[in-house]
């Protein structure tokens, strides 16, 4: 059982935070990870920046552009976090687009992740069937969970298929949108969360997109195991820097 699966068995609602590696400053990566854990965050998504992040809204796109300008690369990220397991125990996931991983070499990338102690990957533009046919064996060889997205438009049949090849959690996108586009949930989302809950999937669901504060965190986790905050956290470090991460996390959890 890897760290993600162990974490998912804890009897609590989980908070996961996304940040863009190399942003706001190139060397903030380790400090952000350590501070997030220290302040009670359950899981972290380390964003590997990409020039053309299709599934993301302006906030994460801008942070990615800036991070790349700061000089962030795949190799540099791996170097920055190579000793991260000496200080951090919570699950760490790398979230990024497929092309940089493809160029790095998918197997080399996965091996490096295992060496460092990364627990899983979220690759929005690697489709389920391509993963299943070409890469699942490699991910499993290096004990990496691949996390898939589902949306309100995903059919039950497809959700069950995704559930069958997942081995961590399912990333439940709250509404048809890019990241950071919406805030707050209406009846439609609640019904969707409930519909998925009723499918009794083997993998727990964690909600992402549209969660920015305690209110939305509470709503999202009513039917789901946890929630992910991305754009709101990136905005926080844009405006307040990386020294008040404790305040941000506290505002979500309390």
């Amino acid at each position: 059982m890897n760290r993600i699966q162990t974490k998912l068995q804890e009897d609590k609602k989980l908070l996961s935070i996304y940040f863009t590696a190399g942003y706001p400053n190139i060397d903030d990566t380790v400090k952000i990870i350590q501070d997030l854990e220290k302040n009670g965050v359950d899981m972290i998504e380390i964003g590997l920046p990409f020039s053309d992040p299709l599934a993301d809204g302006p906030t994460i796109q801008d942070s990615s552009t800036k991070a790349l300008k700061n000089g962030m690369t795949t190799e540099l990220l791996f170097n920055q976090i190579k000793d991260i397991r000496a200080s951090v125990k919570i699950p760490l996931i790398i979230m990024g687009y497929f092309n940089p991983m493809f160029q790095y070499g998918v197997e080399v990338f996965c091996k490096k992740c295992q060496d460092i102690g990364i627990d899983g990957l979220i690759i929005p533009d690697l489709p389920v069937d391509v993963y299943h046919e070409e890469y699942q064996a490699i991910f499993e060889k290096y004990n990496l969970a691949n996390i898939f997205l589902i949306t309100p438009q995903t059919s039950d049949e497809r959700i069950k298929y995704i559930d069958s090849i997942s081995n961590g959690f399912i990333y439940m996108v709250s509404s048809a949108s890019t990241t950071g586009a919406k805030s707050g949930f209406g009846d439609e989302q609640t019904q969707y969360f409930k519909r998925i809950d009723d499918l009794n999937l083997k993998n727990p669901q964690i909600v992402g997109f549209g969660i920015s504060n305690n209110d939305t965190f509470t709503q999202a986790t009513k039917y789901a195991k946890g929630a992910i905050i991305g754009s709101a956290f990136v905005k926080h470090v844009t405006n307040k820097g990386v020294d008040t991460i404790d305040k941000f996390v506290a505002s979500v959890l309390n």
Partner: protein, 629 residues
């Protein structure tokens, strides 16, 4: 003895003596002059003209000059013998197909009469259904050349559905026959199976009609061509997209799950919708009446003299809105309507695709949002104004490098945020499957026309070379499409080298690109070693895309196409040269293709067909600045 003599004079082909590989093909129900010529260019073995008055396919005009190798066949139903003789002589028919209850003696008279200016093959039709008694054939054996088996239906022929071909397992004769009744593109696999069966032993030809029409009597050339190629196994899938959306190793659909329902809906429906007669009819009609197709295939005499070869220009620049782009937007807007979408989004670089999209949205009364990089908006003010006049909303892309690739990102994001009512009209042969294939098919009208136009000019439908410029590659894909599997046609792809391939300011993707993923497909792509997509450069706004369509990546990798790179300077000079020699101001994109004549030596009798993808009006300021006019 008498019969033998008849057979000798009529040169009836014997089955065993036939040199052909597959089945002969008869295309029946021809009606319109232009259409007859275009169908004849496909070189079927028979063309059928129906002289029976009670059908919408009734033929009552003239048959244009078509090669003698295609047998002109008159189709009659219980007609007076003298009328048939008159028609045979008038139209120089080489075969007569009898669809009524014509008796054996009647068939025999047709074969023995001295009133015919030349003898005809006699094809006797029988409608087959379960329980068909093959004994009736016996008395016709000696008096006709072929049988034709059709579906038993309400009308004499043309019922549009197939009969159970396994009934022919009981065929007691050795007389070669035509198989007919509702045969369409869908039946190719069935036909191949049938060909292997016992029932097909004496099957000589296939007879097709209504399944290839956009209206009674009007045949759809591209579908007929596809049918013919598939039957002959000519379509080896080598250069076409496969079922999963790949061209060799390139293509696919690398999209976030949020886009899956949209793209999947399109994937499941696009071929079905495109094959609907209503769709084809509306598409063809708009291309003809609204776009102004067919676009001329112009023999550029002075340009040819200068380079001592034969150069034909396919004049896509004469289309409505000034470029090939409109072929695709017309097709996609009709597709969007059939999918029930009422909000249209598009990306644009120089604004040509944006204008073509805004145009068709105005035409159809649909909401139109065009994403355009902030920098491009500043550079291309006239096109921005055009889009606005046409009722489109132009939204600046403020992210990244604020040019075409970022406009594409923004359009994709819009689609993610509007998954139900919105169709995304991608402007090039790029994006996730099925876009590259769909766009290519809509643009393939270019090569479809080249084939029959070149036959008119040169008496052959295949040139020695086809050439086109490539950004994403939609005009090139359309120009190559029907030549991809004709190995005698060499393909030239012209990329923008910008300031020079090694200058760091270039868009020559086939040279500088590496395999990667951009905008939903795996293709050749300009990127950093770390997999970040880089910003290309060309003086031509339509060619500075960091990738190339997956079909072209495959053509480059397999060597099917020769890729040449042309610098800004070479292109601008070639553009001016065309102005001076032919009186045509080309788009700077097209000027890149024109510059190959200085790069590459062609033989004097080579026929080179080049796509003149767009007109130069939009580039006037670039020309003015460059040449200090």
């Amino acid at each position: 003895m008498n019969e033998n003599k008849q057979n000798t004079t009529q040169q009836v082909p014997s089955l065993s003596g036939r040199a052909r590989e597959g089945l002969a093909l008869k295309i029946c129900g021809m009606k319109y002059q232009d259409n007859i010529e275009q169908v004849a260019a496909l070189q079927p073995d028979y063309l059928g003209f129906i002289f029976y008055k009670k059908t919408p396919r009734h033929f009552d005009t003239k048959i244009p000059d078509i090669p003698n190798s295609i047998k002109k066949t008159g189709v009659f139903v219980n007609e007076d013998l003298n009328t048939i003789i008159k028609k045979v002589n008038e139209f120089k028919l080489q075969a007569v197909q009898l669809h009524g209850e014509e008796a054996p003696y009647y068939c025999n008279m047709l074969r023995t009469t001295t009133l015919l200016s030349s003898p005809v093959e006699v094809i006797k039709v029988f409608s087959v259904k379960e329980g068909f008694n093959f004994d009736v054939l016996k008395e016709y054996e000696a008096v006709c050349d072929y049988f034709l088996f059709d579906t038993k239906g309400k009308l004499p022929g043309g019922n549009g559905y197939t009969f159970d071909w396994s009934l022919l397992n009981d065929y007691p004769s050795t007389k070669p026959f035509f198989l007919s009744g509702g045969i369409g593109l869908d039946q190719v696999e069935d036909i191949k199976k049938f060909k292997e069966s016992k029932a097909a032993k004496y099957c000589y030809a296939l007879d097709v009609n209504s399944k290839f029409e956009t209206e009674p009597g009007l045949k759809k050339i591209s579908i007929l061509r596809e049918f013919k190629n598939k039957l002959n196994n000519k379509e080896m899938q080598q250069y076409n997209v496969d079922e999963k959306g790949y061209y060799g190793e390139f293509g696919g659909a690398f999209i976030p799950e949020m886009l899956y329902p949209n793209v999947e809906e399109l994937r499941q429906n696009y071929l079905k919708i495109m094959a609907e007669p209503d769709f084809q009819k509306e598409f063809d009609q708009l291309l003809k009446d609204y776009v102004g197709r067919p676009s001329p295939l112009y023999f550029a005499k002075r340009l040819s003299e200068k380079y001592n070869t034969k150069i034909y220009l396919k004049r896509e620049d004469l289309n409505h809105t000034g470029a090939h782009k409109i072929n695709n937007t017309i097709g996609q807007i009709l597709m969007a309507k059939r999918l029930g979408k009422h909000r249209i989004i598009a990306e644009t670089g120089a604004g040509q695709h944006g204008v073509a999209t805004a145009t068709v949205c105005a035409l159809m009364g649909l909401e139109c949002i065009v994403y355009m990089g902030e920098i491009d908006i500043a550079r291309q003010a006239p096109n921005v104004a055009r889009m606005k006049m046409l009722g489109a909303k132009v939204v600046p892309a403020l992210s990244g490098s604020r040019t075409l690739k970022d406009a594409t990102n923004e359009a994709i994001r819009d689609w993610i945020n509007n998954p139900i009512d919105t169709h995304y009209i991608i402007g090039s042969a790029i994006g996730p499957h099925p876009y590259p294939d769909m766009v290519t098919r809509f643009q393939s009208v270019i090569s479809e026309e080249i084939k029959w136009q070149l036959r008119e000019h040169e008496g052959r439908e295949n040139p020695d070379y086809v050439a086109a410029c490539i950004g994403g590659g939609s005009n090139a894909a359309g120009t190559y499409y029907h030549f991809l599997h004709d190995e005698d046609v060499k393909i030239i792809a012209v990329e923008a080298a910008g300031l020079g391939v090694d200058s760091g300011e270039s868009a020559a993707t086939s040279v500088l690109g590496k395999e990667g993923i951009i905008h939903g497909c795996k293709t050749l792509l300009m990127q950093t070693q770390d997999g970040q997509i880089t910003e290309p450069y060309s003086i031509s706004a339509g060619l500075d895309y960091p990738g190339v369509g997956p079909m072209h990546a495959h053509l480059a990798k397999t060597g099917r196409a020769e890729f040449l790179s042309i610098t800004d300077d070479e292109a601008m000079k070639a553009g001016l040269e065309l102005c001076e020699l032919e009186g045509i101001i080309p788009a700077i994109e097209s000027s890149h293709a024109l510059a190959i004549f200085k790069e590459k030596q062609f033989k004097p009798d080579d026929v080179v067909v080049m796509s003149l993808s767009g007109r130069g009006d939009k580039d006037l300021q670039n020309y003015i600045d460059y040449f200090k006019i």
